[in-house]
Symmetry: C2
Subunit: 505 residues, 2 copies
Amino acid sequence: MPADSYERLVTKLKRVHHLGTVAGLLGWDEQVNLPPDSADLRAEQLALLAELQHAAAADSEIGTLLDELEDPVCHLLSDKCAGAADRRVVVREARKDYDRVVKLPAAFVAEKARLSSAAYHAWADAKERSDFSAFAPFLEKHLALAKQEAAYLGWGDRAFDYAIDKHDPGMTAAKLTELFAELKAGLVPLVREIAASPVRAKEGVFKGFPVEAQREFLREVTATLGFNYRRGRIDVSLHPFCEGPGADIRMTTRFDADNPLDSLFSSIHETGHGLYEQGLPLEAQGTPLGQNAGMGVHESQSRLWENQVSRSRAFWRFFEPRFREKFPAQLVSVSSEELYLAVNEVAPTLIRVDSDEVHYNLHILLRFELERRLFAGELAVKDLPAAWNALSEELLGLTPTEDKVGVLQDVHWSGGAFGYFPSYCLGNMMAAQLWFTVRAKYPELDTDFEKGDFSRLLGWLRTEIHEQGRRYETLELVRRVTGEELTPKYLLRYLRERYGPLYLG
Amino acid sequence: MPADSYERLVTKLKRVHHLGTVAGLLGWDEQVNLPPDSADLRAEQLALLAELQHAAAADSEIGTLLDELEDPVCHLLSDKCAGAADRRVVVREARKDYDRVVKLPAAFVAEKARLSSAAYHAWADAKERSDFSAFAPFLEKHLALAKQEAAYLGWGDRAFDYAIDKHDPGMTAAKLTELFAELKAGLVPLVREIAASPVRAKEGVFKGFPVEAQREFLREVTATLGFNYRRGRIDVSLHPFCEGPGADIRMTTRFDADNPLDSLFSSIHETGHGLYEQGLPLEAQGTPLGQNAGMGVHESQSRLWENQVSRSRAFWRFFEPRFREKFPAQLVSVSSEELYLAVNEVAPTLIRVDSDEVHYNLHILLRFELERRLFAGELAVKDLPAAWNALSEELLGLTPTEDKVGVLQDVHWSGGAFGYFPSYCLGNMMAAQLWFTVRAKYPELDTDFEKGDFSRLLGWLRTEIHEQGRRYETLELVRRVTGEELTPKYLLRYLRERYGPLYLG
């Protein structure tokens, strides 16, 4: 076996990576810059890049190199060889990626892409008319394809596990069921207590915040948190997102003069994603060692900065004077306590994306339970709206009056994205668990934040999470970093500690 | 021969085209958006795209398809077959492109790329220190490679003709020599007369023009001229440029609060390029029928809108009130006549890119003459600065005091771009010739402009120039559209008519 097999593998992987970054940039540009009538060209460009990226990822030479490297006599991966541990990670993860690409027949991939495109339009139309039945056949077909995909990949009838593992390596439906049951047991009573509280955030206090000043303030905040604007930027799009590799992160936000906290917190959320990507080892860019560990871990980073850090007293002790400096007139009649309560407003809503962090996880439990039943055959697609509404009442205390604010609210199922929502809740649990771990290690974090210094926290996340790349599966990473199994108890504790004093006296 | 050879050829050509548009977008993004430390990633992405584009353009199946289509018995290109004329153009031009790609050995292309990269840095450094001798070896090497390239392409020792033809198909050094001699004979006396005139544009009248209002005004102007902002946009970069296919044009400008005319006219210039691209037949996108006819023709469009149209009395009769509306205070002490003289300021400068349109062509004559002598072996690279300075004195009446404002001022030679500068002057001659042609046809154009209506002019350019794609070589296109051979006499006449009344009483 030639000694340079590993180097040749890395070269091939980087090619796939770079094509992905180009497609990512075109996707960003589509949301941020694309003139309205240029969409056809962009579709052509993206289709071509998808084809090239698929060809690069399915390059049979990758398979040959992996076979060579996986051979038991391969010296390069043996413990006796320096750097072998890193190479084992790369080979292990590259194998997963390669199999995922080559085990799916091209006709299947094309069928799923066609279905997703048709289902997207069917969903948008059905949502507009609040008529789930028009979307149901597409969802049924997606469900069938998801099962077929799992079978192709060798997961047999464990299709839901496969769907979950795709987003969070190593996670299973059984494990999620256990975690979510415990979370629900603690969360439902908490939201009931808060609902019964007479405390309410003052309404209508945020009016007329000029966009330019909002932009300056959120830039100051995100740069202070540690976002490196020499390797990234923030622009405006309809929905906020974060795109690109750590070498060039493109975040977006949106502005509303009457809702400055929305763009501020969505920017901080995307900054959390961006900090993670910027912290991945740049020298390993394009290999699994330089890639993120999955959606749940990614979300743990965005949520930790958005919630644990930026809704804290310490954060606002530092930033409140700066916020008032930017908007002296607008905030003159808002007290510090009113501002802090507005930052931590809790109110149930039917819409997941509008939800506060206390209710948010209930939205995820709802979707997870329905997906679980669909995959288990316990629930038929046609019965989804009724099941959705019943669960919504049980978990949130709210029943949707129409499908557009219920079962049809999210786009994800139109793309066949099952097993995807749990990542958000996993991220929240993990963020809280990391939060208690790092605060136990560094009791001075609050004092740091009050001085506008977030570097100790970021440094710890860099070492413990970011620099690990795809070395560990989600649960193992949590175990290694926190010394404990992943558990919802820290999320529950965090929520009680944050919201109890505000709403429960 | 299979009947679908032509369709298969078109599919292949579109692939090359789309890869080019992706690289173009990345290039635009690099100038407009790229965070400072993300340049390494962009270089990797662009290198990969260049490799993919080269592979697509050199795809041997293109050669096979061209061979089939060029076969004398090929029905598809015979006069009896509907649409054959269009197909002949596509095959003819695709052959030129294909040969240009496959006749150059990969090692040669790589060597030229490496040299260009090294030469760029050497040039920047030499310019900084005003020391031509440090750059000379790179220019010598480029000259040698240019001769080698021409030989590879079958041009024998006609290396300069090959370099010219690359930018303006069909043009030769002999033809340029003839055109430029006539131009020089008329131009040098004109600039001498204007230099002797006591009339001078008032200095320092443009101060404190807010950028946001400048942006609004130039957007209004460019949209009124006909730029379709639904298929394009304008942003800010260090140097203005226009990038992208007609389906998605990205123009740039730059702003200076104390020089509003600079960004206005550079935007109009880029709008001229953009209008051309937007006017190329969209349905033929990716084939030579949907591509521009070369640099000279492209420049004729940018110059016509920038100079003939936008420095005219009629244009300003419409836009002056709008300009004053945007900047009432800034323009209060500037009379209409002073404004018009500022728009048409003539003053010699050593720097080509800062030159007014009267002197501009002299800068081109200077470079052309030096390139001609270099290729003919009449001038050694080491003697270039002395020859430059002598010609500068002869043509412009100015002698550079150092190389950075003389022979080292332009970046182009560091990339081996010989035969490139004449296109600018060709464009100016052609713009003037088109101008007299269209005004003879539509004497009411001035009245149109005074009403802010530029559609009649644009419609004519669309039909006569834009929609022709690469159907005709430059000289043939001029002959067909104007009924005359290309001649400098219209440019000379235009300059006398525009500047005579202002400067020569």
